[in-house]
Amino acid sequence: MVKRKVVVVAKAGLHARPANLLTKEAQHFHSSVEISVGGSLYNAKSLIGILAAGVDCGTEIEVVCDGTDEKEACEAVTNLITGGMGE
């Protein structure tokens, strides 16, 4: 399992559009991809899961990946988040 902490910089947080991008990215990988926010885990492959997490801009979240391609998954997802998701 790999974990990495990142700060969400997308201006409106992980709202609909960025969350949609994130889900699509996470779905590329075999590993499970989850985000940990305030002690709860949310499935990053489910858009409803990410939206339900209600992550605002500036919040620190932890990306948790587990599986055969966990390293690549973690790398790709954290890069997307720190890159501001095209905002």
């Binding site: 409106a12 969350a19 949609n20 858009l47 409803i48 939206l51 905002e87």
Partner: protein
């Protein structure tokens, strides 16, 4: 009746109320396998229709509006939604009711979220739910895809899947009982420039299909039962509004490109976050000057970091990635700030003003820089220092900015690493030394109002010498040219944010000099864009040569006037 105006404009038309009948869930249901089949068929059909609408919207309204529908597509495919519904069906629940139950749980979860943006997503879920249930139960919705006459669409909510299929040419306005300013309908209405008011309580009990009503998308006011003369005056206002819009639209959406293909940036000047809409509406491609003074001038106490951060963030977000040049505090001179208790000076314009004041009151400057850096992550922020007269001042200001960056880094507060730093060219010394200054910053913005006053030693507020105050003075023209040339030798951009940048007579001269960016009052933007489109850069360069041979302001103004009349 009243609501929140979310998309500006007046309108007056017949109402169409979207169907709001309660859904009756069937009592007799099939086996779980049959019901699951029904659900999956409906899911596939709704998904297919949503994809179609997404692609259509992409063509008609652009990517932003289509993104909303792409989110709907993802939600429709989401295992976090499909699996719980299948599980519910397996418990002997009918397909439609299973969708209702599961999605209501999700909707409730979103409705209680504190952040309004996320709470609004409940409306998206509701939209998807209604579409799925209508598909499963074969319920027909009112047809909005071909409207016979101009119509105001009314609903408790007007979901994106409905707006996407609308006959937009015939939609005069949209009214919603629910919703906030970040609801998709509000965003879409603004994008498409259709007047809209949301959050109108009691709307559906008072308005019926076929009623003739009007409303104001700016104030949120709704006009029912209008008298003859009121209708007349409203219609007249709408006509005027449409005329103005069509004039703006013609040029606002287009870049300012000369007849020989050279593009120039046309920006707007603003004094507060509320001015941004006007700039965008008229086609401003950025903010060339955000006067940060309003924060200081309007309050008795100095604005703290949070208050400033909020204001900068608001502007950056509204500008959505377009450049925003914020000028740091420019007070003193003729602008007094009660909270700073500045001493009266004999010569305020030559005294403790703008950056000079910041050097004496470092804490004030420090607060502003921190607020700016923190807000920088929300868009394309550029910082501009006013009243620079020496290299030492510029280097001092950059040092202070670096210190604030280090501070924030230590505090783990995010900010953008690369922020362009520029200076106002408004003191003749800087124009003369332009090449030197251009090596130390990323852009110039020429402030012609002060540059004129300082070059000619004419107090611009003093009526008795007002006749001497003119930027057509050959010395001012030369200083402008020195600034532009100095910038270009160092490959940095040179803009202008003074009155001259929006003056149609000056523009050919500035185009000839190669000035890159023109920032002006929002109202001038469409006119300037139109005017630049008629210019030819070679002809403008010739004009510069001719102007530089003249020795009086009067001759220069006359030649520029002639050029304008001959070419407009």
């Amino acid at each position: 009746m009243h609501g929140y105006g979310v998309s500006k404009g007046l309108c007056y038309a017949k109402v169409l109320v979207l169907n709001e009948e309660a859904i009756a869930f069937p009592v007799e249901i099939g086996s779980p396998a049959e019901e699951e089949r029904k659900f999956m068929d409906a899911q596939a059909a709704v998904l297919e229709e949503t994809i179609r609408l997404r692609d259509k919207t992409n063509e008609t309204a652009g990517g932003n509006a289509a993104d909303i529908l792409d989110v709907h597509c993802s939600l429709l495919k989401d295992s976090g939604l499909i699996e719980p519904i299948k599980e519910e069906i397996a418990k002997q629940t009918g397909a439609a009711l299973a969708v209702e139950k599961v999605m209501n749980r999700v909707i409730a979860q979103f409705e209680v979220m504190e952040n309004e943006y996320f709470a609004q997503r409940a409306l998206d879920m509701k939209d998807i739910k209604d579409n799925l249930i209508c598909e499963i139960l074969n319920i027909k919705k009112p047809d909005v895809s071909s409207l016979p006459e101009p119509t105001i669409i009314v609903g408790s909510d007007i979901p994106p899947s409905t707006t996407a299929g609308m006959d937009l040419k015939m939609v005069s306005g949209m009214l919603m009982e629910l919703g906030g300013i970040t609801s998709h309908t509000a965003i879409l209405a603004r994008t498409l420039d259709i007047p809209a008011v949301v959050g109108v309580s009691g709307l559906l009990t008072k308005v019926k299909t076929g009623d003739l009503i009007g409303f104001d998308g700016e104030t949120g006011e709704i006009f029912l039962n209008l008298k003859e003369n009121e209708i007349k005056s409203l219609k007249k206002k709408i006509e005027e509004q449409d005329e103005e819009k069509s004039r703006w639209n013609k040029f606002s959406g287009e870049p300012a490109v000369t007849s020989d293909g050279k593009k120039f940036d046309i920006f707007g000047n603003i004094g507060s976050p509320d001015d941004v809409e006007k700039v965008l509406e008229r086609g401003g491609e950025g903010i060339g000057l955000f006067r940060s003074e309003f924060l200081y001038l309007s309050s008795k106490i100095l604005p703290d970091e949070e208050k400033q951060y909020d204001a900068y963030k608001k502007v950056l977000e509204k500008m959505d990635g377009r450049p925003v040049i914020v000028r740091t505090l420019d007070i003193g001179g003729d602008k007094d700030v009660p909270a700073l208790r500045l001493a009266k000076e004999a010569n305020p314009f030559l005294g403790l003003r703008a950056l000079r004041l910041c050097r004496r009151k470092e804490d004030v400057f420090h607060t502003q820089l921190r607020a700016l850096l923190r807000a920088s992550i929300y868009g394309n922020l550029k910082i501009m220092f006013p009243m620079i007269s020496s290299m030492e001042e510029l280097i001092w200001a950059k040092d202070k900015l670096r210190q604030c960056q280090e501070e924030l880094q230590k505090e783990m507060v995010p900010f953008k690493e690369k922020i362009e730093i520029g200076i106002m060219v408004e003191i003749p010394a800087v124009a003369v030394m332009a090449e030197c200054f251009a090596g130390e910053c990323d852009f110039f913005s020429i402030g012609t109002n002060d540059l004129t006053q300082y070059s000619l030693a004419v107090d611009r507020g003093n009526e008795t010498v007002a006749d001497l105050y003119t930027y057509y003075h050959p010395a001012v023209i030369r200083l402008i040219k020195m600034a532009v040339d100095g910038a270009h030798k160092n490959n940095i951009i040179c803009g202008m944010c003074g009155e001259a940048a929006g003056d149609p007579k000056m523009i050919p001269l500035l185009v000839g000099m190669g000035l890159d960016e023109y920032s002006m009052a929002a109202a001038s933007i469409p006119e300037v864009k139109e005017w630049i489109g008629k210019l030819n850069t070679e002809k403008c360069k010739e004009l510069v040569e001719q102007i530089l041979r003249l020795s009086t302001a009067k001759e220069i103004e006359e030649m520029l006037r002639k050029f304008y009349i001959q070419n407009k």
